[in-house]
Symmetry: none
Subunit: 214 residues, 4 copies
């Protein structure tokens, strides 16, 4: 009825992506405002400005929307984290860890709105079927790699890799959760977390900008 047969693909593809993204945005907003279970098909459609039926032209089902939401959002974050992990690979243990955490928290700051959703959903297991790899799982993976290097440098035994990774991931999660709920940047806490993790509470020189002295 409009531009009918000349150059379908490129335009159509663009439109598809635009609508698709609009739907995911809508889902994110609604889920953020009223909780994931409030992100009903009707609510998402209304927020996106499309009809319910349209949702099913773009996604297989409601869970597909939420899965795609998490997937795309993660897809915007995970590569950045992978890059961070990659770029810092060459550094010695401490610097590597510090650099990674710094980048990690910066990335988190850049995606704060999604973060609340992700941290919240982390552990809800059943709510979104097919969500296998969480964001924090990827972070855990990166940290584990770094820890493995620490162990291979004899800084601590290999058996510590796993528990250390869990602890550090937990610390980060705690900080992020806290900051994000207060609507505050978390990147500034990077050194504090790393310093505490590496050298503990007592030795972290108080007063001085942390991570500088030592």
């Amino acid at each position: 009825m409009s531009t009918s047969s000349e150059k379908r693909s490129p335009v159509r593809t663009k439109v598809r992506e635009a609508v698709s993204e609009a739907i995911l945005d809508a889902a994110e907003q609604v889920a953020l405002e009223n909780g994931i279970e409030a992100a009903t098909a009707a609510a998402i459609a209304q927020r996106a400005g499309v009809a319910v039926g349209t949702l099913y032209n773009y996604f297989p089902d409601r869970d597909g929307i939420l899965a795609a939401l998490f997937k795309t959002r993660r897809a915007a974050i995970v590569p950045a984290l992978d890059v961070a992990a990659d770029e810092t690979k060459a550094l010695p243990f401490e610097e590597r860890l510090r650099a990674y955490v710094r980048r990690l928290l910066e990335v988190f700051d850049d995606n704060a709105s999604f973060l609340r959703l992700a941290v919240r959903a982390d552990g809800e297991g059943a709510s979104i079927k097919g969500r296998d790899k969480t964001l924090m799982t990827q972070v855990l993976h990166h940290i584990s790699q770094i820890m493995r290097e620490g162990a291979s440098r004899k800084l601590f035994p290999l058996t510590r890799v796993e528990p250390y990774a869990r602890m550090l991931q937990g610390s980060l999660k705690g900080m992020v959760l806290w900051r994000v709920e207060e609507g505050v940047s978390v990147a500034d806490d990077a050194d504090l977390v790393v310093d505490t993790f590496l050298r503990g509470v007592s030795t972290t020189s108080p007063g001085k900008p942390h991570g500088v002295g030592a």
Copy 2:
């Protein structure tokens, strides 16, 4: 005109509590297996071996069941934690912290099945109305108190109390979540967590049973 108050109570009361507990157990199991939202009235009733209507003889509504579940389970744990916090109050900072964490993880071990639920639900905000004080919130509170003492002893500035509390709570959560999902005791990790938190990764003497040296 009616045999009213002499000897019916004790038996009836016992039955009431048994059924009530059976319902809560059922709710816990179902929630644990398939997520909280899978704990429908029908599912709980079936698992408990009672009729749906029976649920409503014991609890006002579905949320009432979940609220009671969390309440009773917490009621079995929180006092133990409070005692732990209280008993260790007299100790100097480090020993106090170590003792508290040890007790904390012991208590957690004793309540592993509920723990998975609690850690999972922590942060789900809206799911259970009226759940004001979470278990982990109480833990955070205790840790904060201990941290405040650490600050008053000039071990670190007062501004560190909050972030340290979050980090340690996060570390503990990470460890508990990990161990509990593997069905393993977590109490043995107490010293490792505390040592790492106090003195950091590198100084924790590797090889030796942690918490002994230094």
Copy 3:
């Protein structure tokens, strides 16, 4: 366990009736306060001070209670109406009608609390199964008899019996409903209703106490 084998019947019978009546009273109160559908088994039992199960020792089911309620209450009224109809049989048409209506409204005044229920339920057809003969049906019957006499005295054609009976019954219902909802006696309106019915609006001597003159 108490008085076991000597004179069971008389005592037991008395108790049975007392409990039975208590249940009906309870049902009446609850129905009056919150509507018939609010007269649940639980509500009736609680109000009557007995257990739910006891209701079923006295009545076959819930509808049986309501049916019995209406039946007993009617049983207290209908005979009085029958007597009124009987006693006035000998009187000439007008006096007979006047006397009957007077007695009718007096009886109604004596049973005001039940009346509200009866008038309300009159016409609800399905709500109480097996309630065939309503109070107002009996009244209609009496009025019809009187009307038939009026017709046989050539005061009006036989075809008027039915419509006249309906109209007068309607007038009475209207008055009763009105007065009863205001909590006011209705007996004083007897002459007004009859005079209006017999001679119409305009001829009823205004000012004078009605029913005296003419």
Copy 4:
């Protein structure tokens, strides 16, 4: 982006109204056959030939359906009655009353099926929330106005206005209920009711077509 407001409305609107009306018709039928409380969502849906969910696309809840039923049905009647009351305002008392009643019963004949419901429900107080102005209440209002005029013309004292209105309304209700349950027209009874009300039983010239002579 969407074909939004040109030509969908008229068709859709028609369908919407058709379905809406079908639902109300279904509700009316079911309520008429088995009583209002039998008009369950399932029963209405089945009778209307739609799914349960569809009801909720048209009405907020079950009470909303019943409320709408009464509202629309009344909306078809009350204006006609208001017109009748209005048009007859200029006439002298007796003619006015006669004309109003005639029109009233004609309107009733045209809405016989709903009438049974309305007369039945009149007085059930609590059954349908938000039903403030019943049909019969409106009739009472009109009659009262006419009666007030009668009083102002000194045909009877002002204190008679209320009771007369109740009586006449009652008479009409009685007639309508009777005729309607027999499936017979009631309009023909207009003069009989008015004549009886105005001049009473005895003076109504028997044999002659009523309302002609005198």
